[in-house]
């Protein structure tokens, strides 16, 4: 965004493109813009007189203390380089003499420094992508067996995985090729290339937008319905919050900041608060409501079973990431009579493992399979019967019904009715 006296502009760069960044600043200085701030990839400029100057952007070691940094700056200033901005690992210098000698005169030393920083970042980035890929593939594999899981589609998931793999591969190949070429150049006494072509930059940006869009389309949207992916949703809101903050920051700098001061510290503080607020608000107002929904009618009521009138009814559909978590459950009670059920859409083998984990069943216990044809189920297990409580597990083709009745025993007619309801139920 551009105002009369201030200008904020995004400029994408990596540590191995510092010459391009320096040229960008030289170009801005020649057009009368002086750098005043850097937040992420957004540079702030203030209007000054146009001037020809040489710029240099230097990496400093991540672990150096303030004294060591000052020492480095003193060396540079003693050589005619004016320190203009401190951005942590990146230090910005300006020299009035456009023909001044560079800050680094030994290309091997500089390459070594840049390589070490880029390698660290590259490893970190790729590990993050692998972690995300594993997370997504974990959900994918988990859900392959189920037709009605929260995921919006296997194809989209595979698309996301391929995207992440391509990003990691692209990063690795591009970085290795750059380092190989640079090393060769140094060996031959030439300067390595610390610039990036427009095509490479376009690819870089495009691939990130692609990946972000793919992830957003799939898992982040579904995260609203999935407690197990709340983290992804929070990250999504974090990104939205950050983007919103950067937009507001740019707007302020371009339109309302009259004195030209950047107030970076204050804005960073406001930014953190804004993003935290976004995450909190999204979690508070969106998440709990979508984790489980009241979906109106009760599937199986005491009244339907012919047991007097309905007392209180509750019916919930719970959306999560496992067969146990994607189910509907309901209860209806009248006086001492109660029906409670959980209806799952899942294949039994995975369901069985899951409910054993949840403690509903003991793996080493043999449950009584009863030959009760009335339910119309493939298999009927009587899980327990104690006093007035009876617990059933009914296995149908791709539906599983856990059923409890309290205070009354099911009649044959009631069992038939339950079986019919399960078969027609396509929730």
């Amino acid at each position: 965004m551009r105002g009369k006296n201030v200008w904020t502009k995004r400029f994408y760069f990596s540590y191995k493109e510092l010459d391009t960044l320096a040229e960008f600043l030289e170009d801005k200085a020649a057009n009368g813009w002086e750098m005043t701030s850097l937040l992420g990839n957004t540079f702030g400029f203030r209007k000054t007189e146009p001037r020809q100057a040489k710029f240099s952007v230097e990496i400093v070691e991540a672990d150096i203390d303030e004294t060591q940094k000052q020492q480095f700056i003193e060396y540079c200033e003693a050589d005619g380089w004016k320190h203009i901005f401190d951005a942590g690992k990146l230090q910005f210098f300006e020299n009035e003499n456009p023909d001044a000698d560079p800050i680094h005169t030994d290309e091997e030393v500089k390459l070594d420094l840049v390589y070490r920083h880029c390698r660290g970042l590259s490893i970190g980035l790729n590990l993050s992508m692998v972690a995300i890929a594993l997370l997504i593939s974990g959900f994918l594999i988990w859900n392959l067996d189920y037709r009605d899981m929260y995921t919006s589609g296997i194809v989209v998931n595979i698309f996301v995985l391929i995207t992440l793999a391509m990003m990691a591969l692209y990063q690795c190949i591009e970085f290795c090729l750059w380092y190989r070429r640079s090393k060769q150049a140094v060996t031959m006494g030439k300067a390595p290339r610390y610039k990036q072509t427009k095509v490479a930059r376009f690819l870089d940006i495009a691939i990130y937008i692609w990946a972000t869009a793919a992830i957003w389309l799939d898992d982040v949207v579904d995260a609203f319905y999935s407690q197990s992916t709340v983290l992804i949703a929070l990250v999504f809101f974090f990104i939205i919050g950050t983007a919103g903050f950067i937009f507001l920051y740019n707007l302020y700098q371009a339109k309302f900041n009259k004195d030209g001061k950047t107030h970076t510290g204050l804005f960073l503080l406001l930014g953190v608060a804004f993003v935290a607020l976004m995450v909190w608000a999204s979690y508070t107002f969106f998440m709990p409501a979508s984790l489980s929904e009241d979906e109106g009618d009760v599937f199986l009521t005491v009244q339907e079973l012919g047991e007097t009138s309905t007392g209180t009814s509750e019916h919930w559909v719970v959306h999560e990431g496992s067969p146990l978590d994607r189910h509907e459950s309901g209860s209806d009670r009248w006086g001492s009579k109660k029906v409670y059920y959980e209806l799952y859409t899942a294949r039994f083998d995975r369901f069985y493992d899951a409910i054993v984990e949840e403690g509903y069943l003991a793996r080493d216990k043999v449950y009584e399979e009863v030959a009760d044809k009335a339910f119309g189920a493939d298999k009927v297990f009587l899980l327990g019967k104690a006093e007035s409580l009876t617990m059933w597990l009914l296995l149908y083709d791709e539906k599983i019904l856990y059923l409890e009745t309290r205070g009354f025993d099911l009649t044959e007619k009631q069992k038939e009715m339950i079986g019919e309801k399960v078969k027609v139920e396509e929730r």
Binding site: E58, E61, T67, Q68, Q70, Q71, F72, E74, Y75, C76, A78, D79, W81, D101, P102, I103, H104, T105, D106, E108, V109, K110, D112, L113, K183
Partner: protein, 106 residues
């Protein structure tokens, strides 16, 4: 093939070690190298800073004084030995050159 660290020294490494025969701070080292080489060797501040760190880690120089951000360094015995070895290597190069071209054109 990659050069083993400090097995052979670049011109800039060589002159930095030479300048640190005496206790000096980084700014002085830059000035002395310029003077010694009549500005033939360009020693950028970034390169000097990185070299001083590397030399110190390798035990070729030691920090002798630190006043605020100003730090002074001096060659260690190991550094002196390394500089001497490099000098001898250069002398060998010169001797070989002279012997090879002695008495005629090649």
């Amino acid at each position: 093939m990659a050069r083993e660290k400090f097995k052979t020294l670049t011109e800039q490494m060589y002159y930095v070690l030479m300048a640190l025969q005496e206790e000096r701070c980084g700014v002085d080292v830059m000035a002395v190298v310029k003077e010694m080489t009549d500005q033939r060797i360009k020693l950028g501040p970034g390169t000097l800073y990185a070299l001083l760190g590397d030399f110190q880690r390798e035990g070729l120089i030691k920090e002798t004084e630190a006043v605020g951000s100003k730090r002074s360094y001096q060659l260690t015995d190991e550094g002196k030995e390394r500089l001497k070895q490099e000098h001898e290597r250069h002398m060998l190069l010169i001797r070989d050159y002279q012997q090879y071209f002695k008495g005629g054109q090649r």
